[in-house]
Symmetry: C2
Subunit: 409 residues, 2 copies
């Protein structure tokens, strides 16, 4: 294996630009919601490239697409991949980079006349974003057998469409079986979608794992009262309790420490008038940690605080779990190797967790898996302003190239 | 003067029920927005009663109605009054009680053959609620010369109607001059619209004054970020700053003490999603105190806290004053006399501020004025469930009767 093999960054960038034309928004960015006409256009483009590169394309029953490059021997492939669906006002890098870097790597190996021992695969998974159909990542969930195919196909989207019908309509209801993944290892290159790499001047993120997620919805019921005539001691102010909780959530993140994050992103008061004590507050709490013990500790402390604070104000609480995922740890040897390859390439590198969910966390349940992050300008993602510099895209692809060729050697 | 003279509570209650038919809502309560057809019906009914009682009715240029009962001597009248307009889903007592108690007192004096030395007047003022035309209380503002007539007449309502045109349409654009009030003293009986009297088992409230009001709108601008990928230290979370402020507002009320109340009733986050750090928070702070020095102190402390907390989070603040009224103190001798009459009548009594605005605060600028409160069941007002027991209505009218006959003696 040639140690100095590098991808063609301009060619990768060119494919990123061309894929961004599928579902392009007038002000920049992309709307390529899963299983829409725009998604079909994007899929057709990528599948066309796969075929041009001589990959054997298979499409499974949930629409996941795998392009296989033969190795010198048969056996399980080393898979690269990600997704090409986007949120409604998404960017050009989230997902697309990992898929197109895979194609670029195939082309780089072709140009250099390199055939790996194991096969290589480039995959894209259906509906990673979950912006149209929930749960998110149902493509990789079905691929790995964690979600029944029928359930995913029956999913009704936010627009009332049925996933299975949409899949057939766009021509991507394939025949390859699901739930029996045959993958030697999985590596996903992705934009960070956060500010850490840029802020610390790093080019490569060696992703240690995906944070566990705990989403809780709280409905606080107090009593509506006149803001002028109701003495403070007689209030049952749902808005006040909500504010105390949102303020506590910040202290909680600090007290738990580590990579704990905690957010109150949604808070709605009723009747939401300047001179009326709020009768009701509907709010969410988003807790994430890569350490499940700490995440559970955060959940316990939050529940205690909510109960105590609401009781003191005479406010009742209804609690509903909106989502709960355990953290996922990526393969320690792979994470270490991402880090060491970056150093060999003289790229600044940092270990960090992923705060967002990715298909790689599903693959991690069935094979050694890891992720490579590259910087997101300003930490911005899920936005038409999403941007990752060409040299960062190429650097990430170079690390991916080295890692998969080693794994396939 | 007969010291044991009492009103006819059943007759007062009967008039309250009959007035409630004007603008009656199907589920109870009343919609008698100012200068609507329902308001005209209510006005016609009350003016009819005034004429039946032999009062000399005058209507001024903003539609305020005064019924005058001659005294043994000429001179300035002692005025009782309130309003008969309601909010859109209002109750049967707010405003109506003070006006109809005035009529009941006139009838009680007639029945007893009592003629006071000074004239007595029963008034109702136009658009106290402000639910259709703003500012609220524009009838008493024009009556006392605090607002130019032309400005009030030109007011455009929430439904696009012009106050002056509506006034003419319902036949209540009168000819009596405004801005030169000739009133010896003014006493307004009103329901408390708060929970204090009921909670403390009191029948009569001796109202010391009307709280000053300070309404501030805060627009907090931070940065929208992914709740999973953005470390806590890199956040500029407008929602967190809003929560800190709403939490502080409660401490502020406690620290300022006295009758200070402080409320965050409205709070809206953008984009208001579970997994996105809020970019923007729009919130209001309602501060009220009968002591203007303390109210200004509360305003200063709030401004300091907002500036400090926003700065620490990297969030910018725009501040807009939505309303600012100085407190009004009622005549100390009159407040004292309300209290002592209640005791003489063996009615439990408590001094308290008014948290809501009333016509009496406008009259207080031109003559000695005070208010008598009676309990609101459950503290509920501006609601179809508003209720004050018949015995409480009668007790308030008895205190009013004694006070105005003393003032007119």
């Amino acid at each position: 294996m040639r140690q100095n093999l590098r991808v063609n960054g301009a060619r990768l960038w060119s494919r990123l630009e061309r894929l961004a034309e599928a579902g392009a928004l007038p002000d920049g960015g992309v709307n390529r919601l899963a299983l829409t006409e725009a998604d079909r256009q994007g899929r057709d483009l990528v599948v066309g490239w796969m075929r041009e590169l001589g990959l054997a394309v298979t499409i499974d029953a949930i629409g996941n697409v795998v392009g296989l490059r033969r190795g010198r021997e048969d056996g399980l492939p080393v898979m690269m991949g990600s997704h090409i669906d986007t949120v409604r006002t998404g960017g050009r890098f989230d997902g697309a980079l990992g898929v197109l870097a895979g194609l670029e790597i195939v082309q780089t190996l072709d140009d250099a006349g390199v055939v790996t021992r194991r096969p290589l695969a480039v995959a894209f998974f259906t509906n990673e974003e979950g912006a149209r159909f929930q749960p998110d990542m149902f493509g990789s969930l079905v691929f790995t057998g964690a979600l029944p195919l029928e359930k995913a196909l029956a999913t009704v989207g936010v627009d009332g469409a049925v996933a299975g019908e949409e899949l057939a309509r766009i021509g991507y209801a394939g025949e390859a079986p699901v739930g029996r993944p045959n993958v030697h290892a999985y590596v996903e290159l992705h934009v960070e979608q956060g500010p850490t790499l840029e802020a610390e001047g790093c080019t490569i993120g060696a992703v240690e794992g995906v944070q566990g997620i705990s989403w809780t919805e709280l409905t606080l019921n107090g009593q509506s009262n006149h803001a002028g005539t109701t003495p403070m001691r007689m209030r049952r102010d749902a808005g006040y309790v909500a504010a105390e909780i949102a303020s506590y959530v910040r202290r909680l993140a600090r007290d738990i420490g580590g990579n704990q994050v905690a957010t109150v992103g949604a808070l709605t008061l009723t009747p939401n008038l300047v001179n009326v004590v709020a009768e009701k507050a509907l709010m969410t709490v988003d807790l994430r940690n890569t350490d499940n013990e700490r995440l559970m500790e955060a959940e316990r402390r939050l529940a205690d605080f909510v109960a105590k604070t609401a009781k003191a104000e005479g406010v009742t609480v209804e609690t509903r779990s909106l989502a709960r995922f355990d953290p996922v740890a990526f393969s320690a040897p792979l994470v270490h190797r991402v880090e060491s390859i970056a150093r060999e390439f003289e790229l600044s590198v940092k270990r960090l967790p992923s705060g967002a969910g990715h298909d790689a966390q599903m693959l991690a349940a069935v094979c050694p898996a890891c992720m490579i992050f590259v910087p997101s300008a300003g930490g911005v993602s899920h936005d038409i302003e999403e941007y990752t510099a060409p040299e960062h895209c190429a650097a990430g692809a170079d690390v991916l190239l080295r890692l998969v060729t080693e794994l396939a050697a």
